[in-house]
Amino acid sequence: MVFKKRPDGRGFEDLREMDAKVGVIKRADGSAWFKIGDTEAYAAVYGPRNLFPKFMQDPRKAILRCHYNMLPFSGSGDRIRPGGNRRSKEISFVTKQALLPVLDLSKYPNAVVDVFIELPQTDAGSRCAGITAAAMALADAGLPMKDLVSSVAVGRVDDKILADLCYDEEAYEDGPVADIPLAFLPGSQKITLLQMDGEITKEMIMDSLELGKKVLTKIHAVQIKALKDKFGDGKDD
């Protein structure tokens, strides 16, 4: 059977509706909220700040710590037991790897920059939403960054390459599926997050990456607007 229509009627290359806001958590040094379809992520940055225990300190630069967590009521089925698990630990780790390349942490020896990502609601693409929100939060915190990081999941369902899979598409059972979370640096279009699970050919992967590159500009545009909106247009009066 051939995959003809997406459950929500979107075009194959269309992203779900997005929304973003920066500076949503006043106590944090930087923060952002990002929503794509029904997946919603908060990100807060604290730092550079003091790091305990001392043995974790790096005298050459600040370390980056990322903590990704899905809230107990965020999943579409049972309650998620709080406390994280191997999956969330791995996602925290790849999130860190996705953000690290743009940051210049050498200016803050021995310190730590903490990034906390919490999701109140998920419908696939949660780690990507988290990274997208985290990049805005890091910029909001005034950290030196070469570029933002924009993240989206692309994938393969049956014979089609799709952008921004929703949960029902990831769970498709009538044919092969591959889910590919990606993160890009918009300027150089280089990839800092790449994971894939499922069944796919090399050609389809390359097509997926090209599609990812194409749609990331839409995510990037949402991030830029949210960051600039926080400060108004600077030319009032």
Binding site: V24, I25, K26, R27, A28, S31, D38, E40, Y42, A43, A44, Y46, R49, H67, N69, L71, P72, F73, S74, G75, S76, G77, D78, R79, P82, G83, D114, F116, E118, P120, Q121, T122, D123
Partner: protein, 257 residues
């Protein structure tokens, strides 16, 4: 460490005001929004000033406790997320979160707000469990009252999911049946700083407070839970005064539901 701050807070209270210009019994703007997160069976977002919390209700079917075979269960969990304040760490709930959860829990449980007999599906075998998770998004003081209000609002918002003939819950299909909420307990925490009693503290005020008293009530005449916190003792007279303040403020929170 906090002596200078405490002196200044008290000096300001002596002059009849607080750092942000409020009176001692004045609460910041309160807003309650329900249905804020899709996958929960019920949810609410409460803002008190800049403090923001979200509560979500998840329902499941479990075996009842052996000593109450026809009663459903209630569970309240609080996570003080490190996202919401530099004072909170990652890891399992610390004592602050645990105390908060248990105080919110007692307000609901002891008031018999939820008729747990109506949660029974099959005596001795299957009962509904209501799990309420309250998380902090931004801590600008007074998480106690915000959490309790959010918990209640989320229960009011919640509906049962459909259960198939074979007993499987279909979370994607919600019924229109609300939870059996018989009463609506409101919690107000009154804080003592020197000789003064305030409600809805900011983080600075919480830091310098001597003691606090959380009061859960259904009305002026029906109290259902109390919790004293803080390191300083309270006289009986002081407790009387704090009860008066707490009961008089409950209506203000109640009107936001």
């Amino acid at each position: 460490m906090i002596n200078e701050l405490r002196t200044h807070v008290i000096e300001t209270l002596e002059k009849g005001t607080r750092f942000d210009g409020r009176k001692s019994d004045q609460v910041r703007d309160v807003s309650v929004e329900t249905g804020v997160t899709k996958n929960a069976e019920g949810s609410a977002r409460v803002k008190i000033g800049d403090t923001e919390v979200i509560a979500g209700v998840k329902l499941s079917i479990e075996k009842p406790y052996p000593d109450s075979p026809d009663n459903g269960n209630l569970m309240v969990n609080v996570e003080l997320l490190p996202l919401s304040s530099p004072e909170f760490d990652t890891g399992p709930p610390g004592i602050k979160a645990i105390e908060l959860a248990r105080v919110v829990d007692r307000g609901i449980r002891e008031s018999k707000a939820i008729d747990t007999k109506k949660l029974c599906v099959e005596k001795g075998e299957k009962v509904w469990t209501i799990s309420i998770d309250i998380i902090s998004i931004n801590d600008a003081g007074n998480l106690f009252d915000a959490a309790a209000l959010a918990a209640l609002a989320s229960i009011k918002d919640a509906v049962f999911p459909k259960v198939s003939k074979s007993g499987e819950i279909d979370y994607k299909e919600l019924t229109k049946d609300k939870l059996p909420l018989a009463k609506e307990p409101i919690e107000v925490t009154v804080w003592k700083i020197g000789e003064h009693f305030i409600v809805d503290p900011t983080p600075d005020e919480e830091k310098v407070a001597d003691a606090r008293l959380t009061i859960a009530s259904l009305s002026d005449k029906e109290l259902c839970a109390l919790q004293k916190g803080g390191e300083e003792p309270l006289s009986i007279e002081e407790i009387g005064k704090m009860l008066d303040v707490g009961l008089s403020k409950a209506g203000e929170y109640r009107s936001k539901l």
